[in-house]
């Protein structure tokens, strides 16, 4: 080894805690959304919005609480994760509030303002974040819940199919309704299932990696080792077919393949994963009209608007897609300015699935690139945490969470921008939706916990029985 790196083991050097860096960044992360809020108010009504003080104080308070907890319970945590999440959450609130003011959306019977709810859910999210840091002193504890997690994840994923509990919203059965609240269990399942995958793969990785035959340069796993990947694959297809949820299905399968690859270091898993998802996609596309219309809208949105039958599911999908594209086009390089665009033309899902189009229109190419880089940074810090983690469980867990996060961002942003077919997932932290914002805060909390463990100075080496003091024997 020519270069000495200490990414895996930080050794006994006392790494700087970087808590003050985090504080300064947090100040920015609160100030920028507050100015954005002011900007929207000035653009829409020409006056300082009345809620600005409350909003600023609220966001500031939440950020302070989170920071103090990190300072106390995760002293060595990565300093970027919390400010990035705060900034995204803050800007998301501004964007949702901005869409709440839209007369065009308010004229729709199926539209309700979301900003207040979202602020409440953000507070709940921060509470969960605080809870994770205070209760979960060491992430390795979660290994104990490997199989319980599996069961929990299955329950969460299947809940929307329970009659009377599940709610069919705009064609996707991914919601459950309890009392007045709707919950999207899939968002939480994302984290729970990562626990299961990490625990399972940590134990089985040697078997999966080594017991294989070499065929055409690829290591093919034994038939019985194929079990888990086949199960996950089948489950993803079931979610897709029964819950009409392309996004969640893709997310789980993608996350599993990524973790499998990291655990076994075998490229063959990636190849197999790709083949299986392609196969699954083709099969499902044959009979799921829901997927077909999304694909048609993706291939040629303007064209399919003319060819699609009147009043069909397809024409809605195509119309939405053209509206989203024109929204991005209208933004151009610099955007129209917050509050001055017409992204609300996209209709009802403007504040949830399509909120990224508002970013595109009102903040332009520059704004979208900034947002993508913010997401990129979260993903990068997550993978870095995985690299730095000292235990395989932590590594797998961190890469699973960041991989899922990356896939979600890609699937949503790519779908909205027409790079891939639209899947109907929510942009983490930006989109209106309680489950999403709460689950993502929990995800950030766990990443911070793992990064704290990883960056914490190694404990002093235990005294070795072989290295006892040499006794000086005096004759």
């Amino acid at each position: 080894m020519s270069v000495v790196t200490n990414t895996t083991t930080i050794g006994a050097i006392d790494a700087p805690s970087r808590r003050n860096t985090e504080l300064v960044l947090l100040a920015f992360a609160v100030a920028i959304p507050v100015f954005a809020y002011l900007n929207v108010g000035l653009a829409l009504d020409g006056e300082v919005p009345s809620g600005m003080l409350g909003y600023g104080l609220g966001l500031g308070l939440m950020a302070s609480v989170a920071h103090i907890v990190v300072r106390k319970f995760a002293r060595y945590a990565d300093p970027l994760l919390l400010p990035l999440a705060t900034l995204l959450n803050g800007l998301g609130l501004v964007l949702i509030w901005r869409l709440d003011q839209s007369p065009r959306l308010n004229a729709r019977p199926d539209f309700a303002p979301q900003a207040t709810n979202q602020l409440m859910y953000s507070a709940l999210g921060i509470a969960l974040f605080v809870g994770v840091l205070m209760i979960l002193k060491d992430h390795r504890v979660l290994q104990r819940f490997t199989y319980i997690s599996m069961a929990a994840a299955l329950v969460l994923l299947l809940l929307p199919l329970v009659p009377g509990l599940g709610a069919d919203v705009f064609g996707a059965k991914i919601w459950i309704r309890v009392g007045g609240f709707s919950i999207q269990p899939g968002e939480f399942a994302k984290i729970v299932i990562a626990v299961f995958f990490s625990g399972y793969l940590m134990v089985k990785r040697d078997a999966l990696a080594l017991a294989s035959r070499r065929f055409m340069g690829l290591y093919l796993p034994r038939g019985r080792d194929l079990g888990p990947i086949l199960t996950i694959w089948a489950m993803s297809l079931l979610i897709l077919v029964f819950e009409n949820d392309l996004g969640t299905s893709l997310l789980f399968f993608g996350m599993f393949v990524v973790m499998l690859y990291v655990a076994t270091e075998r490229t063959s898993w990636i190849v197999m994963g790709l083949l299986m998802s392609a196969g699954g996609a083709v099969v499902v596309a044959q009979f799921a009209s829901h997927v077909q219309s999304r694909v048609a809208a993706w291939l040629d949105p303007f064209g399919c608007l003319e060819t699609a039958p009147e009043g069909s599911n397809m024409i809605n999908a195509c119309d939405q897609m053209t509206q989203v594209l024109m929204s991005f086009g209208a933004g151009g390089t610099l955007g129209t300015g917050l509050g001055q665009g017409n992204s609300d033309l996209i209709s009802f899902a403007a504040n949830s699935d399509f909120i990224f189009a508002t970013v595109g229109e009102e903040l332009g190419l520059t704004g979208v690139m900034a947002f993508l880089l913010l997401y990129g940074l979260i993903i990068e810090r997550g993978i870095r945490t995985a690299l730095a983690a000292r235990d395989p469980f932590g590594k797998l867990f961190a890469v699973g969470l960041s991989g899922a996060f990356a896939l979600q961002v890609f699937v949503v942003a790519g779908g909205v921008m027409g790079l891939i077919p639209l899947t109907g997932m929510t942009m983490p932290f930006l989109a209106a939706g309680g489950s999403s914002v709460i689950a993502n805060w929990a995800l950030i909390g766990i990443l911070i916990r793992i990064s704290d463990t990883a960056r914490r100075p190694a404990p002093a080496p235990a005294p070795s029985p072989d290295a006892e003091m040499t006794q000086v024997v005096r004759p």
Binding site: T8, G329, A330, T333, V368, L372, I383, A406, A413, M417
Partner: protein, 487 residues
Amino acid sequence: MNKPLRRIAIFCGILVLALLIRDNWLQYVRADELNTHELNRRVQIERYAHQRGNIIVDGKPVTGSVETKGSDFKYKRTYTNGPMWAPVTGFASQAFDANQIEKLEDGILTGNDDRLFFDSTMAMFTGEKKKGGDVVTTLNGKAQEAAFKGLGDKKGAVAAIDPQTGRILALASTPSYDPSVFAGNSLEDSENRQKLLNDKDKPMVNRALRETYPPGSTFKVVTAAAALENGVVEDIDAPTDTPEPYIIPLSRTPMKNSHGDCEKASLNAAMEVSCNSVFANLGDKVSRDKMVETAEKFGFNDAEIDTPVRASASVYNKTMDRGGNALSSIGQFDTATTPLQMAMVTAAIANDGKLMKPYMVDQLRAPDLDVVQTFEPEEMSRPVSQENAQLLQQMMENVVEQGTGTKAQIDGVTVGGKTGTAQHGVGNSKRPYAWFISYAKADNGSPVAVAVVVEDSSGVARDDISGGGLAAPIARDVMKAVLEGKE
């Protein structure tokens, strides 16, 4: 496990990179295409998001903007005296797009024109509300009013030009419509527009620029010009060799004259009483190709006369036989012109043979009244020489003094004109069109040339329909209005 981890990191980087590239493609490369897409409602929203600039006549706007509520469009177009000005302004409707000047100068009127970039940028900094620029027209309010009132409830059109510059002074068309009634986007606007579209009188057609009519005898001035230019006639008072009856070439049909003394009549005398036989004979002698040449110098067969609103092409058939040419020479057969075209013919003669390009937009102004662009008079062609133009003037003045056009006389002013009663329908079955073209002369040349056509003179006995009786008084009033304005 670190090697695959690094690869996953690279993979995630590629995902983000793909999004960045896609975004650049969408928001930089394709932005313009998406932004101007016909399905993009933003174009309409933006057009009516700010106070639209105005169309100005005599320093006063004939248009306006009012704020509306409850729709995507903030401002609605209003029109002062809409029906009178509709042939000039066109319409701008939130729901039904725009046409004519409203459409052609949309960039200036909305303030989105690149030339207004500086103004809108400054407005952004000073906090002023964005506003559109103005279009200043060449029109003369008094002349327009005289034309519109003169036409009254008759169906017809008037075009008046300043011969020396080509500035359009009046452009009236009846029956007209009020663009205000469908400027919004409500159900009522839609119904109003549908009613106008279904109206069999076609009120939304701009008859002065977009409708062609057989010009009848008014076309004889073009034939006379061709005869003089090509040396077929050298002395306008010398008798021509026209027999009575004159038989249309390649046929056995005699040409009818409504007046007696046409046998061997001189050009001047034939013009005075409008002899068909003499002009058919002259047109035949000039030959089709030379007739086409002269007519085209006056602007016939030109599909691109942009004022800037494009006028329909007037027609002088290039491929007909001798008989057709003889008939066309008296403004029948295939000959068809717009009122603007006949005003151009008159203007060229009144301006001693120089035809100026007709135009109706004088200036484009920024919202702060800075002039963005000024349109200068432009020579279009020289259809006749100065001497011949003066001979034509002499004949046309004769028509008004003692011929068929006496109703166009104005005290103390030299007026030249030519009447026309064009047959209409198969075998002249429908009511004929009454035409009158004329110009007035002042000491320093002619300030106005007018063409009037009355399409359907309801309430007038058929035998009374004549250019001299119906159309000449309207032309006189328009000329008077211009002359009074000059004093």
